[in-house]
Symmetry: C2
Subunit: 121 residues, 2 copies
Amino acid sequence: MMSVDLAFGENELLPAIAQDAETGEVLMLAYVTEEAIERSRETGEAHYYSRSGEELWHKGGSSGHVQRIEEIRVDCDGDAILYLVDQEGGACHTGYESCFYRTIGGETVGEKVFDPDAVYE
Amino acid sequence: MMSVDLAFGENELLPAIAQDAETGEVLMLAYVTEEAIERSRETGEAHYYSRSGEELWHKGGSSGHVQRIEEIRVDCDGDAILYLVDQEGGACHTGYESCFYRTIGGETVGEKVFDPDAVYE
């Protein structure tokens, strides 16, 4: 199904950036397997590989905060993926729209869009 | 100098996304060490770690296509970095503004902004 050669590393993972297709906000960085990319293309919703759970991860499968895929891009070396998505709710488990809600100096700059206690039991 | 704890892995690297601070375009994904982040903060220009060259990499140091740092963000788990930058020239060695200039289906969607033969000898 893929047309661009992907350079999966020894661990068969590639980093994948999710970006809000409309606002341009970078939402999160996670990892994908070839299977995760194929499932994203087939279902139209972002899939990743959970390194902690060691399994295919359908983002938002339990929280409802799915990411509808608008386009998938590949970088020049084929070793990174960019998901352009329409994010339902927020991307971050903390309730922020983006996982990148802090500066490196510790200042909160992101927007909180949901109450994690109400979403995750 | 850092305020947010970073979760460097066994290889002491973290993935770092560079995003154009003005247009929101995701420019590239590379890797950083703690030293690379510190040099970025000290100099105001993006530094990475070159995995192929196994050395600190001042992006644009030879091509002139530097990335002026406007802000550095950290994700929720402290295991990914976002550089918000003002990109001189283009980010990609192929001459495209962004390394993510192709869809996974192989369609070119990015904009070419310089001639790599004129920049890299």
